[in-house]
């Protein structure tokens, strides 16, 4: 079984990102494949490396980066949603004339076509959001 995941809410405010993360870990443990995780709406805020939660809380952003590194999962942030919310990689920051980028390790920025492609290629597309 090949899954494609969509995360539509930001970290901490909403449980969607935590639940998606737990689902991905459980699916991988069960031997399933995660083809891609696509971050949309405020979900793009899961991909900033400037997240600094209190030390006694979970670091959702780092958990995603760790998952991507351990399992080579494709974490894609929607460019249109990211631009609205100030999530930038180095290339995009330069193109927009901004003084820095903030994308976290393991994430990449790309277009909505990646979401549609995920739906086409995966056996199941799951949406985590409100």
């Amino acid at each position: 079984m090949k899954y494609s995941i969509m995360v539509n809410e930001g970290p901490y405010t909403h449980q969607a990102s935590d639940t998606a993360l737990h689902f991905c870990k459980a699916a991988l443990d069960a031997g399933y494949e995660i083809f891609r995780v696509f971050f949309y709406h405020d979900g793009v805020n899961n991909g900033t490396r400037y997240t600094v939660p209190p030390q006694d809380d979970r670091n959702i952003q780092k958990e995603w980066s760790k998952l991507a590194e351990a399992h080579e999962i494709d974490l894609v942030i929607c460019i249109a949603a990211a631009q609205r919310r100030g999530i930038m990689d180095a290339d995009e920051a330069k193109r927009q004339g901004l003084d820095g980028d903030n994308i976290a390790p393991g994430f990449r920025i790309s277009g909505l076509g990646q979401l549609i492609e995920g739906g086409i290629i995966a056996d199941r597309q799951l949406v985590f959001g409100d």
Partner: protein, 134 residues
């Protein structure tokens, strides 16, 4: 690339949150990928295609004209849940007259909106490959 049946479920009012606007952006990309795209409007989502929208007072872009262009992207199946309309005191006359041109029928304009009951909509959902809810 394979063609799948994509259903976009629109559940939220057009303004107040960004979901409706960003849903429409995905819908257009889905059409660009030549997928079999359908839309459903349930709950407050029916307000997305209401007639006479004006955003003058809230400083946001009125994106409702985009729904009128869906027919040009060969998106011709817009399901509106009857119960959601009725619960809000609305009828089909309160919605934009959204149409598509049938090139197999001398480009006759045909209505895109299909008024369906909740039970009928469940059957439509059951027939889809990919369901994205907004």
């Amino acid at each position: 690339m394979a063609t799948k049946k994509f259903m976009f479920i629109n559940r939220k009012a057009p303004y107040g949150t960004v979901y409706a606007l960003e849903s429409l952006e995905v819908v257009l990309i889905g059409a660009a990928f030549e997928q079999d795209v359908s839309l459903a409007f349930i709950g407050d989502g029916v307000y997305q295609i209401a007639k006479g929208q004006s955003t003058d007072g809230i400083g946001m872009k009125n994106f409702s004209p985009t729904y009128k262009a869906l027919g040009d992207y060969e998106i011709t199946k817009l399901y509106v849940e009857k119960e959601s309309l009725e619960a809000r005191g609305l009828t089909l006359d309160d919605l934009m007259p959204l149409v598509w041109e049938d090139e197999d029928d001398d480009y006759a304009e045909k209505p895109s909106i299909r008024l369906v009951s909740s039970a009928e909509l469940a059957e439509v959902f059951d027939d889809q490959d990919v369901v994205l809810s907004f």
